[in-house]
């Protein structure tokens, strides 16, 4: 070292990203437990694609490949995207989504640290708009469907699109709990009746609520190790709770409970893993609160009144747009320039 400070805190970007990956493990484990190991296949596919795309883009951009591959940021994007895609989706869906996320939404904007939008959410948005049908192949959780695919069957379907004889796609997949709720409500069924359906568990979707709980566990680890601050998760979940709570209070037969919204879809992974992405989020504390609260509100609105199965991804992207504005208007007062508090 030639300039002060001559010492540095032993925590680098690679370690931070690695800890976030580590924090995803409980959620992934519960995913495998409830829905089978197909998700591991998409995680692997996404990881390989992400690293390959990252290396290729770095090469094209004439940047050093090794230090950037080691920063674990591409892996994190890959995992977050894979977790947002139905595990039974064809292999090329994962590959296309990840490649797009890394190449266009990350490297074309200047690579690590320069992308205004969350790459994983861009990947998800591209896929749901371009391939809406394939994006509905959500697995039925363990013990709910009449038939279940073995690991080999799942693998064969992902790579060749062939199901075992006598099985239909409808029999092994289902709509998400959020989607189901929406269609059932459309058919004028009462909330209480809908919640009696086998795909719902204690709070939200059977199985998926437990996966969400896994993400909460991981989030707690990130909070405890101070990788993320409490502002984003608290304000995001708080905003969903308040919005959903108000609607639920006004009309409980048509609007699900706040807890249902917390544990459905991508709310938990969003609160702890996606909205907390430092690159695409605000930098000031007040900004983080505004950003998260806005995203929570938008998530609910898109979920309940929009045409997409979940609102998390679009809420994130919409709030990403606002980040420079939020930052500019929430600059804290500097030392010696604060108003006297008395």
């Amino acid at each position: 070292m030639f300039f002060a400070p001559f010492i540095s805190k032993p925590l680098n970007v690679s370690q931070i990203m690695f800890r976030v990956l580590l924090a995803l493990i409980p959620g992934i484990a519960l995913y495998v437990w409830y829905f089978g190991p197909a998700i591991l296949v998409s995680l692997t596919l996404a990881s390989i694609t992400a690293l390959a795309t990252e290396a290729a883009m770095l090469k094209l951009r004439d940047r050093p490949v090794a230090p950037f591959l080691k920063d674990n940021s591409a892996l994190l994007t890959a995992w977050l995207l894979a977790l947002s895609i139905p595990p039974l989706a064809p292999w090329w869906l994962v590959v296309v989504g990840t490649a797009f996320a890394i190449s266009v939404s990350k490297h074309l904007y200047g690579g690590l640290g320069n992308n205004p939008f969350n790459p994983a959410m861009i990947g998800y948005a591209v896929l749901i708009i371009s391939f809406p049908v394939q994006m509905t192949h959500w697995l039925t959780p363990h013990g709910i469907g009449q038939v279940e695919l073995s690991i080999l069957d799942q693998l064969r379907y992902i790579f060749s699109g062939i199901l075992p004889p006598g099985m239909t796609l409808d029999a092994v997949t289902m709509a998400t709990p959020l989607d189901t709720l929406k269609t059932q409500l459309h058919m004028d069924r009462a909330m209480q009746d809908i919640m009696e359906m086998p795909i719902y568990g204690r709070l939200a979707g059977h199985g998926s609520e437990m996966v969400a709980l896994g993400f909460v566990l991981g989030g707690a680890y990130l909070l405890a190790t101070r990788i993320i601050s409490w502002h984003v998760p608290v304000f995001y979940l708080g905003s969903i709770f308040v919005t959903a709570g108000l609607f639920h209070l006004v009309d409980p037969t048509h609007y699900a409970t706040p807890l249902f919204h917390w544990f459905s879809g991508a709310a938990m992974i969003g609160a702890f893993f996606i909205l907390t992405d430092p690159v695409t989020g605000p930098t000031t504390l007040r900004g983080k609160m505004i950003f998260a609260a806005g995203a929570g509100f938008l998530t609910y609105i898109i979920r309940v009144f929009g045409g997409f199965p979940d609102g998390m991804a679009f809420a994130t992207l919409l709030m990403n747009i606002c980040v420079p504005l939020i930052d500019a208007y929430t600059q804290p007062k500097v030392f010696g320039r604060k108003e006297k508090k008395q």
Binding site: M1, F2, F3, A4, P5, F6, I7, S8, K9, L11, N12, V13, Q15, I16, P64, P67, F68, D71, S73, G110, G111, L112, G113, N114, P278, V279, G281, T283, T284, D327, Q331, P332, K333, V334, F335, G336, R337, K338
Partner: protein
């Protein structure tokens, strides 16, 4: 119990203080030579006061304070001046500066020292004494103390003594407080008196319990009323003057505002000690405590004469293999010495011998991921990630609106940055760029003003010339019909001039007569006779001179 205040952010780098803090201060053995820079303080360089070959005594002035903001420099031991020339000094630039080289004679012979009773001295005299004794801030800023010890009555209520010593590795203030607490407090009394301050708060970080104990013990028996030793939390940069002021008093001194305007003044404990030595013992500032640590076999504190070459000092702590450089100051804000032969100066609080193992090279910087760990650590509540962005894109205007100049360059942001971005260097770059541009702009403005004035002046002169020319032509035209009058005019002009000369001569004579007639009243006859004689002699001389001048004409 005093309620302490907090400042935002901060970092907790490993302190690495115990290596050197457990051993008492040792007098450094006299080196083979002393290279004493004449510019060791903020302000004007001292003017050399000795000649090459001259023998100097310990404490003799070798550099005279020059101008309002300056400080004297003294010989740190007795010996012979062998050179006064430009030599590399302890500065990150590696540039040379005027230094006096002294070869010690080993006798360590003092000048005559005078002990003064400061209570009997007027303030201006005390301040002058401190200036002549070369007392400057020993916390690192080396600002002449006499300039800071100036206050109107009732303006300053709190004198803060800084014993926080928040930088890792450094223990010189710690040892000084443990071993010489009484003299620090006596110095503080002098300072308090000069500032008309009411209370004295001594802030020491709570990782130095022995120093806190020693300072408290020195305060017993009714001595030093209105003084208090306060343990402050250990957090870097808690020893920054502004941060310590905030912690102790709750006052935030904004950048660009003098702390005296907020009723406080802050000094390092070492400075208080030097004040006392200068006043009560007549000892100018010729040595200081320096921590020698890092890659040495026996890290400890030395009392080091200024000008002692760093390599000789480090050798006394035991050279170790693998040393690849020396840091002056702490690892957070210090700098790498351009050479190990530079002399120790008043700002040298610590020398750290570096090795690859202790200070591994920084990994290559990655892009900023806006994680805001820097903003969380910034004691000035800045947003370093934004300032970095603006500095990198040379958007200096924006950097200034984001309060770049409030940055105290403590390095906490760089320390915590997971991307290992040298943030402080970016900010230093921006600051110097802005200064350079402002300077350029100012000189451009001046040049433009000069140019505009010149244009205006030339235009005016041209007009005046034309005016004159026109007047002349007019006069000439008016004269043409009667050419005879020209000669008459000329004659008129000549007589007029002569008349003027005559008038001037008369006036001069009248004036001379006036001055001559002074002091001539109420004279005794003898005096009058004497004057008459002198007058007569003068007249004769004048006559002689006139005839002498006129002779060649004939």
């Amino acid at each position: 119990m005093r309620t302490l205040h907090k400042f935002h952010g901060g970092a907790h780098p490993p302190t690495n203080k115990t290596q050197s803090s457990s051993k008492p201060i040792v007098q450094a053995a006299l080196p083979s030579r002393l290279v004493i820079p004449l510019h060791q303080h903020v302000g004007n360089i001292a003017q050399p006061a000795v000649q090459v070959g001259e023998r100097v005594l310990k404490g003799q002035v070798i550099g005279i304070a020059k101008g309002r903001l300056s400080s004297a420099v003294h010989a740190s031991t007795s010996g012979t001046v062998t050179a006064i020339d430009m030599t590399v000094v302890a500065h990150p630039s590696g540039l040379t500066d005027l230094c006096v080289t002294i070869i010690p004679d080993g006798k360590d012979e003092w000048i005559a020292r005078e002990s003064r009773d400061w209570r009997a001295m007027p303030h201006t005299e005390l301040r002058h004494l401190l200036r002549e004794a070369g007392v400057v801030g020993l916390g690192g800023a080396v600002f002449p103390s006499d300039m800071k010890l100036y206050s109107h009555k009732y303006k300053i209520t709190t004198l803060i003594l800084n014993g926080a010593e928040c930088e890792p590795y450094i223990t010189c203030d710690d040892r000084l407080m443990r071993e010489r607490a009484a003299e620090i407090l006596l110095g503080a009394e002098v300072m308090r008196n000069l500032l008309y301050a009411e209370e004295v708060l001594i802030g020491i970080e709570d990782n130095k319990p022995e120093a806190i104990e020693a300072m408290r013990a020195a305060m017993v028996a009714g001595k030093h009323e209105g003084m208090e030793v306060i343990a402050v939390p250990t957090v870097y940069p808690g020893g920054g003057a502004k941060q310590l002021t905030r912690v102790l008093t709750g006052i935030e001194v904004p950048s660009g505002v003098r702390s005296t305007d907020m009723g406080t003044q802050c000094f390092n404990v070492g400075t208080a000690y030097s004040v006392w030595r200068a006043v009560a013992h007549g000892e100018p500032l010729i040595s200081r405590i320096v921590t020698v640590t890092g890659n040495v076999s026996n890290p400890q504190n030395f009392e080091v004469p200024f000008g002692m070459p760093v390599d000789e000092l480090v050798a006394q702590a035991g050279n170790q293999p693998g040393t690849n450089g020396h840091i002056m100051g702490g690892p957070m804000m210090g700098f790498r010495l351009p050479s190990a032969q530079v002399g120790v100066i008043k700002a040298t609080n610590c020398i750290i011998a570096m090795s690859e193992a202790m200070f591994p090279p920084a990994p290559p910087a990655l892009p900023c991921i806006r994680c805001t760990r820097c903003a969380e650590a910034c004691p000035a509540d800045l947003q370093p990630q934004d300032l970095y962005w603006f500095s990198k894109s040379k958007n200096f205007g924006k950097a200034q609106t984001y309060n770049l100049f409030d940055c105290i360059e403590c390095g906490a942001c760089s320390y915590v940055c997971p991307s290992h971005i040298p943030l402080v260097q970016y900010f230093q770059f921006s600051k110097s760029e802005i200064h350079a541009r402002e300077h350029d702009k100012q000189s451009a403005d001046r040049a433009r003003e000069r140019h505009e004035y010149r244009e205006y002046r030339m235009e005016r002169e041209k007009l005046e010339k034309e005016e004159k020319l026109r007047a002349k032509e007019k006069a000439a035209q008016a004269a043409k019909p009667v050419p005879a009058s020209v000669t008459a005019d000329q004659i008129d002009a000549a007589t007029e001039a002569q008349r003027k000369i005559q008038a001037a001569l008369e006036q001069a004579q009248a004036q001379a007569a006036e001055t001559a007639s002074r002091n001539t009243e109420n004279l005794t006859p003898e005096q009058q006779a004497e004057i008459a004689e002198i007058e007569a002699r003068r007249a004769r001389i004048r006559e002689l001179a006139q005839s002498h001048v006129e002779q060649p004409k004939e």
